[in-house]
């Protein structure tokens, strides 16, 4: 296994988790051309782009590698299974965000009208879609998915911190820059939201959960997502490769 790649980088900082050179991931044994599993992002806030600094240039604690995909997939599958077994529901993300959006419009409107007396009459309540969350006596944020959302934030944060991957940065491709990336991110967000609400879910709620329960609509959604993604990816490829 002739692996020249990791050697210069690991040699530099003395006090860090130096992963052994080339732990070949199970999926790609015996193919020397395929790169190793060593991954991580530098902890110093910066734009992540371009070639690595020359050895010894900076002392950075190396972030830990990502998990092997299959291991992560098994873990995620078990979390999903636990969700079914314990609560009879799956996972989900966009439902929580939708409720939060409806709630915030309501709050903003109510405060613009000045006082709680006007809360009954907002556009948000009258709107057919958000009305379903806002009309009843129940707090729209008192919902299974919202609590799960909070958990996701916490879980992601803990993992990021433990693996030293938490940092403020903007990731983008080598031929792009921060502002373009942010533009695309915003646009992608708007478009995704529309699609997510039409389909009543996103990849976690529909593809993962619905896929595991073999719901017909969810599988259709999943295939459509891949189709739509591949169709557009060609046109934005300069952002990433």
């Amino acid at each position: 296994m002739a692996e020249p790649i990791p050697a210069p980088v690991e040699a530099a900082p003395p006090v860090e988790i130096a992963p052994e050179p080339v732990p070949i991931p199970s999926g790609v044994e015996g193919t020397p051309l395929v790169p190793s599993e060593v991954e991580g992002t530098p902890l110093v806030p910066s734009e992540v782009e371009g070639p690595a600094p020359s050895p010894g240039a900076e002392v950075r604690p190396e972030a830990q590698p990502y998990w092997n995909s299959y291991k992560a997939g098994i873990a995620l599958g078990l979390v999903l299974l636990a969700a079914f077994v314990f609560t009879g529901r799956g996972l989900g993300a966009s439902g929580a965000v939708t409720r939060m959006a409806a709630y915030s419009i309501q709050k903003v409107e109510a405060s613009l009208h000045g006082g709680t007396a006007a809360e009954g009459d907002t556009i948000a309540k009258k709107n057919t879609y958000t009305g379903q969350y806002l009309k009843g006596p129940a707090d729209p944020l008192d919902d299974f998915l919202v609590y799960m959302f909070v958990g996701v934030v916490v879980g992601g944060f803990i993992s990021g911190v433990l693996a030293r991957r938490a940092s403020f940065e903007v990731s983008h491709g080598p031929h792009s820059n921060v502002s373009r990336r942010l533009m695309f991110a915003a646009l992608g967000g708007v478009v995704s939201a529309y699609g997510a609400r039409l389909a009543r879910g996103c990849t976690s709620g529909q593809a993962l959960t619905g896929g595991a329960t073999l719901a017909l609509g969810s599988w259709v959604f999943m295939l459509a997502v891949f189709a739509g993604g591949y169709a557009i990816a060609y046109f934005v490829r300069k952002e990433w490769i």
């Binding site: 070949i24 199970s26 790609v28 044994e29 015996g30 193919t31």
Partner: protein, 207 residues
């Protein structure tokens, strides 16, 4: 292949395939049978058809009868004043629907449940299992038919007790059939032999 996927990859793939095959095999066994809710089978008492019949005839008002069979079977014949629960035990959603539609009569009464033979296991909707006074009809509807509705054949009784028992049975049957009880021959009365039946009255008696 090993070169491409590695040892762990092969294990992973094999495990998944075997698990998938196992699930497929299990599915051919059919959907899992539901059982009588655990708590219920511990709490149920058994009531015999004859006893249930007597409750009905006496006009007791402290119980309700629930038929757990198919609606078609129910139409063909059911215990008097039984309520059919239809599909209420097929799934939890059906059960909830049934209680929402007020299908179940007053649940504070004793509940007598029956199925076709009394041997089936069914899962009861939660509304029913919460009742502490559950009874199952012994033998189910088949037992009911056999003991209560079947025609009674007289003859071959050896003593009066048996005759009375059969007459009771016949009366019950007639009640449920809406008929008059048929009077059947009773035991042939043995002629009472008088001691001196054929002798002239005064032969032995002195004057």
């Amino acid at each position: 292949m090993k070169k491409l996927f590695g040892k762990h990859g092969i294990t992973f793939a094999v495990v998944l395939l075997v698990a998938g095959a196992a699930v497929a095999a299990l599915s051919f066994r059919g959907e899992p049978k539901r059982r009588l809710h655990k708590g219920v089978s511990q709490k149920t008492s058994v009531v015999k058809p004859a006893e249930l019949a007597s409750w009905i005839i006496e006009g007791r008002r402290d119980f309700a009868i629930i038929d757990l069979r198919d609606p078609d079977d129910f139409k063909k014949g059911h215990v008097r004043e039984a309520v059919n629960c239809g599909h209420c035990h097929d799934s939890a959603t059906e059960g909830r629907k049934a209680s929402q539609e007020n299908l179940f009569v007053d649940l504070s009464k004793k509940l007598v449940l029956y199925t076709e033979t009394g041997e089936e296991t069914v899962e009861l909707p939660r509304a029913l299992t919460k009742n502490p006074r559950l009874y199952t009809l012994q033998g189910g509807y088949a037992g009911w038919e056999k003991e209560v509705l079947a025609p009674v054949s007289f003859g071959g009784e050896t003593d009066q007790e048996q005759v009375y028992a059969k007459q009771r049975q016949e009366a019950v049957r007639a009640f449920f059939a809406g008929e008059r009880a048929q009077q059947k021959a009773v035991l042939p009365i043995a002629p009472i032999k008088r001691q001196n039946a054929n002798q002239p009255a005064g032969a032995r008696e002195g004057c």
